[in-house]
């Protein structure tokens, strides 16, 4: 599969090392393991290659455009006025961490007052919870084989850290807000969520851009890594919204580890970026865990959005339900690769996957690849993928009740996306996203 010696191959070291070289010198941590982690990642960056379409995992997603662009790192957080950030806030989320171009912005953040609950930047969290963090930071999102995770880990500095202690329920959602403010910058946001046994929480991971950053030529590059750990019986609702500007590059890796009888619900919405890639890797490490992965991609123009998910049923009695939808307009290109792995011994696994795609124009394009790999005998696994236009009978039915054809199409397109958005249990965010979908669909019809 690898074509490491091909002449056109971009050595990640050349490219990502350049990005690394521009990084401000990090002070060595007093924790040896953290220094080692960064060093290992730095070494990986210099040996790994940037993926090309010759890699099976990147077959449909050509990122050569990215490798032709140069980015620099911000040396420190740019000063962002509270008023510029405030319209991104989500009213239900009283606890909020804000990162500007990858740097923690304490003046915009509002940390948790709940006793025992950690919602803070990495360094204060390390001061008090290093032993809780050590077994997880950089241990789930493996970087030995992934140039982007390696680059992110090598530059590890600020990070959103959430630790919810045993049997504690965090009542209000926590908003992790990542704001990109400048073009030609690379940002490496990082999140670590640890849900201890029996705990419950909702976390919103939100990538946004200030309007001026993409109004001119040039784009920014976000390379993010998120790790989420659910210990036994923990329950995490994870909402991810990628609404960066239409010129941005967005590469994201999220690794989730599920303990016994834990419940992980994920809703991810991809609206922005010229090229985006979201790798979501969920591993069931103990019996009886349950995950629901829902996704919506809504793109137009020349956007490319790639969602790669992998659900690894490593233990018996696991349940995974997945619904991924794409609405593709203009000459945009969506990719969905949904892998479900049922390992030997993972008996009584119940895995359902559905991928439904709506093409709004003749030039819109979707590549979908469901991938089931089953090595256990007593399992229930289903998957299905559909690609289509709006149903003409539905359009006619609405017209026959007085709706203009454009209104009918708009309503149906909206409804298609709303099925996923409806699964977000936060009213104001749901409303915002519904409005975005309505505006986007209306502008394309």
């Amino acid at each position: 599969m690898s074509a490491a010696n091909a002449p056109t191959r971009v050595i990640a070291g050349n490219y990502l090392e350049n990005l690394l070289a521009g990084q401000p010198q990090r002070e060595a941590s007093s924790l040896a393991w953290l220094n080692t982690l960064r060093e290992e990642a730095t070494n990986c960056v210099s040996t790994l290659t940037l993926p090309t379409t010759r890699d099976e995992e990147w077959r449909f997603t050509d990122i050569s455009l990215l490798s032709k662009m140069s980015f620099t790192s911000a040396l420190s957080a740019s000063c962002l006025e509270a008023v510029d950030a405030a319209h991104f806030y989500i009213e239900e989320a009283t606890t909020r961490l804000v990162f500007v171009d990858g740097f923690y912005a304490p003046q915009l953040s509002s940390t948790s007052k709940q006793s025992g609950v950690v919602v803070s930047n990495l360094s204060p969290a390390m001061a008090t919870h290093a032993t809780a963090i050590e077994p997880h930071l950089g241990r789930h999102a493996l970087f030995t084989n992934d140039a982007f995770s390696a680059q992110n880990t090598a530059t590890l500095h600020d990070a959103a850290v959430m630790i919810v202690p045993r049997d504690v329920a965090v009542a209000t959602p926590v908003h992790l807000l990542f704001i990109a403010t400048q073009k030609e910058l690379v940002g490496t946001p990082r999140c670590l969520v640890i849900a201890e046994a029996g705990s419950t929480m909702t976390v919103i991971e939100d990538y946004v851009v200030l309007p001026q950053a993409h109004s001119q030529e040039g784009a920014h590059f976000t390379n993010t890594v998120t790790e989420i750990v659910l210990e036994d019986n923990a329950h995490v609702m994870h909402i991810r919204v990628q609404r960066e500007g239409s010129k941005a590059f967005h590469i994201a890796n999220c690794a989730v580890s599920l303990g016994r009888a834990s419940n992980y619900q994920s809703v991810s919405v991809a609206l922005g970026a010229r090229i985006s890639r979201y790798n979501l890797h969920v591993r069931q490490t103990a019996e009886g865990s349950h995950c629901t992965l829902d996704g919506l991609t809504l793109i137009s123009g020349r956007q490319l959005a790639d969602t790669h998910t992998c659900i690894d049923h490593a233990k018996p009695h696991g349940i995974s339900h997945q619904l991924h939808k794409c609405i593709v307009g203009g000459s945009a290109h969506a990719v969905f690769n949904g892998k479900v792995m049922v390992r030997e011994g993972a008996q009584r696994t119940d895995a359902k996957q559905s991928n439904r795609n709506l093409l709004l124009t003749a030039k819109a394009h979707i590549d979908t690849k469901p991938q089931l790999e089953i090595f256990a005998s007593d399992v229930k696994c289903t998957h299905g993928a559909t690609v289509g236009q709006l149903d003409s009978e539905e359009v006619f039915y609405l017209q026959s009740r007085g709706l203009a054809e454009s209104a009918a199409r708009n309503l149906l397109t909206y409804a298609f996306g709303a099925e996923v958005i409806d699964r977000i249990p936060i009213a104001s965010l749901k409303h915002q996203l519904e409005q975005t979908v309505l505006e986007q669909t209306a502008s394309q019809l």
């Binding site: 026959s400 009740r401 409804a415 099925e419």
Partner: protein, 264 residues
């Protein structure tokens, strides 16, 4: 009911239509006056549902010749939504499930679109909610149906009631009920028929397309038409439906052919 000097609502002359190049309607004539209740009966494939869909403006059917005047207006020149706004309504044989669109939201959008056309007041969600709940009582429908997606997961009978609910909201001048009785048990049939009867006035008209005379026990037609091979071959009163029930359709077409050959 037949009223003297009532005005013509629908006038179909020499209508021919094809689907995928196949002739379905062949020189069909049909007239409806306000206040009247018509039944169009006929065997499968006789063109009844095609006729209903052509009138509603379904894009799969092509009108090759003939004319349709609806209250003096050229119906065929109108888009489907313009026909609906002008007061034409088709209750679908198979109401479409529209996943993700709330039934209440859909009903309000539809209602307001038509109200706007008529220069009448549009209703906000709260006002509409009260209004639609009243109408639902007529059809013994639970308000729960407002919160569900349009027709999604509705039983056959629930879908048909939802169609009649739309008719009750839109108050059309002319409604075509395409096999509204199919898939209804006797109780649902009674409820739906009661709803339809409540909506009948001397200013509007109903056309029921049906296979069976059963529905006609509940909604009594002024005229019964027999359709065969894309045209109406016999018209009679309510008694014709009973005769068809006992004798079937073959004798009608035999009689029609005999008359046609004599005329020729």
């Amino acid at each position: 009911m037949i009223y003297p000097d009532s005005k013509v609502l629908l006038e179909v002359r020499g209508l021919c239509a094809t689907v995928n190049g196949i002739d379905i309607l062949k020189n069909l004539d049909f007239t409806v006056r306000s206040g009247e209740v018509h039944a169009i009966m006929g065997q499968n494939g006789s063109g009844k549902s095609t006729f209903a869909k052509v009138l509603a403006g379904h894009p799969a059917y092509e009108v090759t010749s003939g004319s349709v005047l609806f209250e003096g207006q050229d119906l065929l020149a109108l888009k489907p939504e313009e026909r609906a706004r002008a007061g034409f309504f088709l209750a679908f044989q198979y109401p479409i499930e529209v996943s993700g669109v709330g039934n209440g939201q859909f009903l309000r959008l539809s209602y307001n679109t038509v109200q706007k056309q008529r220069g009448m007041e549009e209703l906000d969600p709260l006002e509409f909610d009260d209004f639609v709940r009243e109408k639902m009582k007529l059809l013994e429908m639970s308000p729960d149906f407002l919160d569900r997606s349009v027709n999604e997961g509705f039983s056959g009978g629930e879908k048909k009631r939802n169609e009649i609910l739309q008719m009750a909201l839109l108050e059309p001048r002319l409604a075509i009920l395409d096999e509204t009785d199919s898939g209804l048990d006797i109780d649902a049939l009674r409820i739906v028929a009661h709803g339809v009867n409540q909506l009948t006035t001397k200013d509007n008209a109903m056309v029921m397309v049906t296979h069976y005379q059963r529905l006609l026990n509940y909604i009594v037609p002024d005229y019964v038409h027999v359709m065969d091979a894309g045209r109406i071959i016999k018209t009679g009163g309510k008694a014709l439906a009973l005769e068809l029930e006992t004798r079937g359709y073959d004798w009608v077409s035999t009689e029609y052919k005999a008359t046609a050959s004599v005329t020729a």
